[in-house]
């Protein structure tokens, strides 16, 4: 074994020159520096701009930045492990005819302390970084409940209520008369304040390119913020298994110019006026039990409902065919 000579511990031999041995530690260090630098540059400048979820909105750009930072921090660690692994396989492998046992393994306090210190500092730094990112605009795309930690200040936000229901999202625009539609239209350059809720089971509103992913819980107002900065198509999917047609619960939104949005909102408000007037008053969430209560009242009054008997009603006796 090439690294077996001498009385020092193998760990020390691996990094110190000894009896004509090359300076393995220096070699590994130099290889690591070059490869880690190359990996970080590639991640930041080449791969980074293509990392999900893109840069179509402030929230998504923030998430991409976070992923890039974490990748740049993690890559040198991974490169070091791989370089050491490759170096050991290449230089310290057992040669043909070498039947000698390798040296006994002993710890190396300096290496261990360095490794633990460096990785601990990195993990704690990332923890601090991640926490900071979550409580700023970067993390605002995730639903933070009815009282989000971060809110855009000094801006007028466009409020869009996202209503999950099996198996479709509908969108309500309270600042435009409260009309409800299946189309998600957003203006470029404006802060959007999503109020995500559900009328039945738990859904999850995932507007991928906007960097928004917020649970839609019945009776809960889950607020998320983002600002679209580019025109284009937005893929919206439900990200919470919600029943038979969960896989088909998706649609596509559009980020358009402010003028196009104003035109669309105005036209849609008029087009949907007949149904808007029968919608319940706008609220940040809706109690799904309202309908059961209506039906209970109907049953109590002896009014027959759909005979699925979801609500208390007269007992059903099936008739034989």
């Amino acid at each position: 074994m090439a690294a077996a000579a001498g009385d020092a511990s193998p760990g020390a031999q691996a990094i110190r020159p000894n009896d004509g041995e090359p300076n393995h530690g220096l070699r590994i260090f130099l290889m690591w520096v070059v490869l880690a630098l190359a990996a970080d540059l590639l991640i930041w400048f080449v791969w980074g701009p293509h990392l999900p979820p893109g840069t179509m909105a402030t929230a998504s750009a923030g998430q991409q930045f976070d992923i890039k930072v974490m990748a740049v921090m993690a890559a040198p660690v991974m490169v070091l492990v791989l370089v050491y692994f490759g170096y050991a396989l290449t230089v310290w492998r057992q040669r043909d005819g070498d039947e000698e046992d390798g040296p006994a393994l002993h710890g190396n306090t300096r290496i261990q302390a360095t490794w633990i210190t460096v990785t601990s500092v990195m993990v704690l730094s990332l923890f601090a970084f991640g926490t900071y990112e979550l409580v700023t605009a970067q993390g605002a795309g995730a639903g933070e409940g009815p009282s989000p930690i971060w809110k855009p200040t000094g801006h007028t936000t466009l409020q869009v209520q996202v209503i999950g229901q099996q198996w479709r999202f509908t969108y309500r625009y309270p600042q435009f008369g409260g009309f409800e539609t299946t189309q998600l239209m957003l203006p470029k350059g404006a802060w959007v304040e999503f109020h995500v809720t559900s009328l039945d089971v738990i859904h999850s509103f995932w507007a991928y390119q906007l960097g928004v992913k917020a649970d839609a819980n019945p009776g809960v107002d889950n607020v998320a913020f983002t600002k679209p900065t580019q025109l284009g198509l937005v893929t919206v999917r439900c990200a919470e298994l919600c029943g038979l047609w969960h896989g088909a619960m998706f649609d596509y939104g559009h980020v358009v110019s402010p003028a196009a949005f104003a035109s669309w909102a105005s036209a849609t408000r008029i087009r949907l006026a007949s149904v808007t007037k029968i919608l319940p008053p706008y609220a940040t969430s809706y109690d799904p039990t309202v309908i059961p209560n209506i039906n209970k009242a109907m049953a109590k009054a002896g009014i027959s409902g759909a005979n699925g008997y979801y609500y208390p009603g007269p007992p059903f006796t099936p008739t034989a065919p």
């Binding site: 799904p288 409902g305 699925g308 008997y309």
Partner: protein, 222 residues
């Protein structure tokens, strides 16, 4: 235990496992309601369906259900799967035998995706059917993939609903509408949006989540 007995036991266990797996595949994956295939006549397809307050033809008799009239035998078939040609006008007639239940979201009171965004309810054109204003909506017929939504009118409040399925008599409404099938072949699911799944969470379990009852597929073929 002798070797022949052990071999026989192993073979029997193997056969039992294979038979069980085959039964599961056949019964749950390959089984299911039949597909009613419609062909165009003069460039149009005519489909007739009915929605009933129950179905007395299955092991779940208290589940509300749709039925489709076979284009060949004209018999009512307990299925919600139908096949239509692509890019073709479909003239749909749905007989509403079930009573009323309010929509959870009154947005679905609006007729969309049909010719003129209207439906004929007992011969009268309707664009909005408000289920919160009275007892007037039993179910909906909605195909989200093509933006189609039609609330199904229900019989009068005091009507004595049909008790045997498929219904051939009794108070009912007649809802007619037309739409064009997509030019792209594929499967487009359809559903009811009224929470009429009896005894299930949010009223959307049971028949609402089971193909053959209140949801199904429109298979578009080129």
């Amino acid at each position: 235990m002798s070797l022949p007995v052990r071999v026989a036991t192993l073979a029997a266990a193997f056969v039992a496992v294979v038979a069980g797996a085959s039964f599961l595949v056949i019964h749950y994956l390959l089984g299911g309601p039949p597909v009613e295939a419609f062909t165009a006549s003069s460039g149009q397809v005519n489909i007739t369906m009915q929605e009933d307050p129950q179905n007395t033809v299955t092991s779940k008799p208290d589940w509300v259900s749709y039925f489709i009239q076979s284009p060949t035998t004209h018999q009512w078939v307990h299925t919600t799967l139908f096949q239509v040609p692509a890019g073709t006008r479909v003239n749909m007639t749905i007989l509403g035998y079930d009573g009323c239940t309010p929509l959870r979201n009154p947005y679905w009171s609006k007729v969309t995706g049909t010719y003129g965004n209207v439906a004929l309810v007992n011969g009268k054109p309707v664009s909005v059917l408000n289920s919160w204003s009275g007892c007037n909506v039993g179910h909906t017929f909605s195909i989200p993939g093509i933006g189609l939504n039609v609330p199904m009118a229900s019989p009068p409040l005091t009507a004595n609903l049909c008790g045997t399925s498929p219904c051939t008599a009794g108070p009912h409404t007649v809802v007619k509408f037309s739409f064009t099938t997509p030019k792209v072949a594929g499967e487009y699911f359809w559903q009811c949006r009224v929470p009429c799944g009896g005894g299930f969470v949010t009223g959307f379990g049971g028949p609402m989540q089971t193909i053959g009852y209140m949801t199904g597929n429109m298979e578009v073929v080129s």
